[in-house]
Symmetry: C2
Subunit: 146 residues, 2 copies
Amino acid sequence: MTLQDHCPLCAADGGVPIWHGDKLRVIRAAEAGFPAFYRVVWNRHVAEFSDLSAADRSLCMEAVTVVERVLRERLSPTKINLAALGNMVAHLHWHVIARYDWDSHFPAAVWAPAQRPRDEAREAEIVHQLPEIDAALQQALGRWAA
Amino acid sequence: MTLQDHCPLCAADGGVPIWHGDKLRVIRAAEAGFPAFYRVVWNRHVAEFSDLSAADRSLCMEAVTVVERVLRERLSPTKINLAALGNMVAHLHWHVIARYDWDSHFPAAVWAPAQRPRDEAREAEIVHQLPEIDAALQQALGRWAA
């Protein structure tokens, strides 16, 4: 692992740790309004997806797929959003976000201005499920990596 | 190819056609302020990345990587942004966007509010290069698919 000075994803997990593998980890983010917001973080400091080897790109996207599938199975979201931006923190990480047609921003991106007030009751229903979802992610990622 | 009624990416290319393969195509988008904005569009109508087979996911992301690499080589952007959102058009497409620290939104996402006015002179320098970049993409994607 190459540690870069001042890189928050070299210095710390970057969120609630869910699963840790040799090459990548999965964390749960705390982004207001989007309770089912996970990130697949590449452990080594690379900026761009194409900095990875073909084998590592495949590994990375298969981890993203495992997370996406657990969120779909457990939460039946309106849509999954995937993104690797890295403009703020140029250490490769994939956002995997369960979106709902009732969420504060839908159908806009989570980075866009809100479209409506947050629905705290519906958010709380998802928050209530997070321990089970975290456990399902740990199981699915463990099976996948085995 | 499954055609879905009212899906704009089933009905049309979705932008300036750059390259067309059996399973996917690459188009150049027209998004104000971001001249080097391409999309890898899956030809068949699927909503989510995890709806694809493992082989198709790999194919899809390798095409994204080809596009990313051409943009990096030709434009040396500050950052590449990759995203598959699909909240508006739930037909799998990957945004591949060359971002610059001088662009109107950096370091925010292109979907966020602008951070500063557009720099039309610098945008024009990129627009001037688009014919060469489009040709480089066609060559690189052709070689990749061969």
